[in-house]
C-alpha cells in the first residue's frame, strides 16, 4: 500500500464519520424543533379534538346570503366591530329594530355609556354608527302606514 492509498482510505473514513455526525445532528435538531412546536407529538396520534373544533370555530362568524348567521346582522363594512361591541349585553335584534340618524345613535351610545356600563368605543364609534345608518336606514312612515304583509285566507263561517 502506497502512502497515497493509505491517505485516501483515511480520508474516506473521516468523510463517512462526518456524514454520520451531521446526520445525527440534523435528525436531533429536527426532533427538537418539532418538540418545541408540538410537545405532545399529536401529529402521530388520532387527535380528535382538533378535528372537532375546527368546524365550530368556523361557525361562529359564518356569513350566509350576506347575513352574519349568529347575530342576523348584514355583512358590510364594520360588521365585526358592531358584533364585538354591540352584542355583548343585548341581542343584535334590538340593534336591527331601531332606525336612527347618526346623531341619535351617538346619543344612544352616550346613554349606554352613562347608564349601561358601555365602554369608550374610541375610533370604533364612527365605524359602528356608519354601519348602522348605512345598513339600517331611517324610513319615513308618515302619520299612518298602509297595512302590509297581509296573509289572505278563506274565512269559514
Amino acid at each position: 500500500m502506497t502512502k497515497e492509498e493509505e491517505f485516501k482510505k483515511y480520508a474516506k473514513k473521516v468523510y463517512h464519520l462526518m456524514i454520520l455526525v451531521f446526520s445525527i445532528f440534523i435528525i436531533a435538531g429536527g426532533a427538537t424543533i418539532y418538540y418545541i412546536n408540538d410537545p405532545n407529538f399529536s401529529a402521530f396520534k388520532n387527535n380528535t379534538e382538533t378535528i372537532v373544533t375546527t368546524p365550530e370555530e368556523g361557525d361562529e362568524d359564518l356569513i350566509e346570503n350576506g347575513i352574519h348567521v349568529r347575530t342576523g346582522l348584514v355583512d358590510a363594512e364594520g360588521l365585526m366591530t358592531v358584533v364585538n361591541n354591540c352584542t355583548n349585553c343585548h341581542s343584535a335584534k334590538l340593534v336591527m329594530q331601531n332606525r336612527m340618524s347618526a346623531e341619535r345613535w351617538n346619543e344612544t351610545i352616550k346613554w349606554m355609556q352613562e347608564t349601561q356600563n358601555l365602554w369608550d368605543l374610541g375610533d370604533n364609534q364612527e365605524i359602528i354608527v356608519n354601519y348602522l345608518v348605512t345598513n339600517y336606514p331611517f324610513e319615513d312612515k308618515g302619520r299612518r302606514e298602509n297595512l302590509t304583509n297581509i296573509e289572505w285566507y278563506e274565512l269559514e263561517n
Binding site: 378535528i51 368556523g58 349585553c89 335584534k93 312612515k141
Partner: protein, 406 residues
C-alpha cells in the same frame, strides 16, 4: 333555524370524521333532536308561549302577541307578552322568599315571608289590564328608540294576591309618604350587581287602590317565572312597568321614587305637546300614569277573505286605563261613517271590556275594519298616530284588520 341545520350538519360531519366513517343513520336522527350542548333555547317551549308569538329581542327576552292570539276574554299565559329590562332571575326559592317594606316614610320597617303574606292578609282576585307603555311604538315617525312593539304588548289575566294597601298599612305609612318604589331580583344586562335593571313605582293614591295587588297567582296558578314568580306587584291600567316582577322590596318614599327607569326619558312623555322629532329636555318630560283608551279586534285574524253576501262577525276588547270604555264603534270606510256596537261592562274595575258586531259589506272589494273606543270622559282613539314623543309611548291609534269580499 338555518343556523341550527348548519350546526347539525357540521356536527354530523365532524362526528363522521371522528369515527372515521359516515354515521349510517345520521339522516334518520330525530327531527328536532340536537346534541344537547348545541341546543338553542326555544323561547316558545321555555316560556310556554304560542308559536305565533313574535320574538322582538332575545337578550333581554321581549316577546309580543298578535291581535288574533288575544281573543280569549281572560288572556292565557300562552298569549301574554313578555317584557324584560334585564335578565330573568334564576334559582328562585319561593319558600325563603321575603318582601321587605322600607323607605323614608315607613313607620316600622318590616319583612314578610310569602307564607306570612298569604296567611296574614285577605286575598283578592281581579282581572287586570296590563299594557306596555311602548305598545305600538313601531308606528311612530320619526322612529322611537327601543323594542318596536306593534299591537300585542297588552294582556288581561286574573291576578290573585293581597292588597298592597293592607301590607303597607301593616308596616305603617307616615303622613309625608308620596310614592312607592319596588325593587326586584332581576339582573342588569351588563352583569353589574350594583345596577338595577328597573325599579319603578306609583304615587300613594294608586298604591292604595283596592285593585293594586301583591300577586302570587296568575289565572289561578303560580305566576310563570317570566311574569314575576313568586311575587309581582300588579297595578292595572298603568304602564305595565309599574307592575314590578320578582318583587322583594317596596320602599315607601317621601318623594317621587328615583329608581332606574323613573328618571330621564324612561316612561315619560313631553309635559307639553311637541312636533314630531323635536328635542325635549329631561326636565320637560312627565311620568306616564293612566294608559289611554284603546281597543283591539281579536277576531277574525287580519286577511280574511269572505264570499259576497255573507256577514262578518267581529269581536275584540277595549280598555281605558283608569277609566272605563263607554262607547264602541267600527268603520268599514276609513272613518267616513261609524257604526256603534255593544260593549260589555268590565268584570271588575281596570279589566278590559268585550265588544262584538256583525258587519254586512255593500259590494265586493278590499275593506279595512277599523275599531274606535271612547272613554267615560268622551275621549276617543285617534285614527292617525297620537302626539309624537321621543320614546314612542302611548300609541292608541285605532286598530284595523284587512278584509276582502269576493
Amino acid at each position: 333555524m338555518k343556523r341550527r341545520d348548519f350546526v347539525k350538519k357540521t356536527t354530523l360531519s365532524s362526528l363522521a370524521t371522528l369515527i372515521g366513517a359516515e354515521i349510517v343513520f345520521g339522516s334518520n336522527m330525530l327531527e328536532g333532536y340536537n346534541p344537547l350542548a348545541l341546543q338553542d333555547p326555544d323561547p316558545f317551549k321555555m316560556f310556554n308561549k304560542n308559536k305565533e308569538m313574535v320574538v322582538l329581542n332575545d337578550k333581554p327576552w321581549n316577546i309580543e302577541a298578535q291581535a288574533h292570539l288575544l281573543d280569549n276574554k281572560i288572556t292565557p299565559n300562552t298569549a301574554m307578552f313578555i317584557r324584560n329590562n334585564g335578565l330573568i332571575p334564576e334559582g328562585i326559592d319561593a319558600k325563603n322568599w321575603t318582601l321587605t317594606i322600607d323607605g323614608e316614610s315607613v313607620v316600622n320597617q318590616k319583612t314578610y315571608t310569602l307564607e306570612e303574606l298569604k296567611s296574614k292578609f285577605e286575598q283578592h282576585t281581579y282581572q287586570l289590564t296590563l299594557e306596555c307603555g311602548g305598545n305600538g311604538r313601531s308606528e311612530f315617525n320619526p322612529p322611537a328608540k327601543g323594542n318596536q312593539w306593534t299591537v300585542g304588548a297588552v294582556h288581561c289575566a286574573t291576578w290573585t294576591g293581597v292588597r298592597l294597601r293592607d301590607v303597607l298599612e301593616d308596616a305603617g305609612i307616615k303622613n309625608n309618604a308620596v310614592y312607592i318604589g319596588y325593587h326586584s331580583a332581576d339582573k342588569h344586562l351588563s352583569g353589574d350587581p350594583k345596577k338595577e335593571p328597573i325599579s319603578r313605582g306609583a304615587p300613594m293614591v294608586k298604591s292604595l287602590q283596592d285593585e293594586t295587588l301583591l300577586a302570587f297567582k296568575m289565572n289561578g296558578k303560580d305566576i310563570p317565572l317570566a311574569h314575576g314568580y313568586p311575587l309581582r306587584l300588579v297595578a292595572g291600567g298603568w304602564p305595565a312597568s309599574v307592575s314590578g316582577k320578582w318583587v322583594n322590596r317596596i320602599s315607601i318614599r317621601n318623594k317621587i321614587h328615583d329608581g332606574t327607569k323613573m328618571m330621564g326619558t324612561a316612561y315619560r312623555v313631553p309635559c307639553e305637546p311637541v312636533a314630531p322629532g323635536e328635542k325635549v329636555k329631561d326636565e320637560d318630560m312627565c311620568i306616564i300614569e293612566s294608559m289611554p283608551v284603546k281597543s283591539l279586534i281579536t277576531y277574525p285574524k287580519s286577511g280574511a277573505v269572505l264570499k259576497d253576501g255573507t256577514s262578518l262577525k267581529i269581536r275584540g276588547h277595549a280598555w281605558a286605563g283608569e277609566l272605563e270604555v263607554s262607547k264602541m264603534e267600527y268603520s268599514i270606510d276609513f272613518g267616513a261613517t261609524w257604526k256603534e256596537c255593544p260593549i260589555e261592562t268590565p268584570v271588575n274595575r281596570l279589566a278590559w271590556q268585550h265588544f262584538s258586531a256583525s258587519i254586512d259589506f255593500p259590494k265586493k272589494g278590499y275593506y279595512e275594519v277599523w275599531a274606535k273606543a271612547t272613554d267615560t270622559q268622551g275621549v276617543a282613539q285617534p285614527m292617525i298616530l297620537p302626539g309624537w314623543n321621543p320614546k314612542g309611548y302611548l300609541n292608541n291609534a285605532c286598530h284595523r284588520i284587512a278584509i276582502k269580499v269576493t
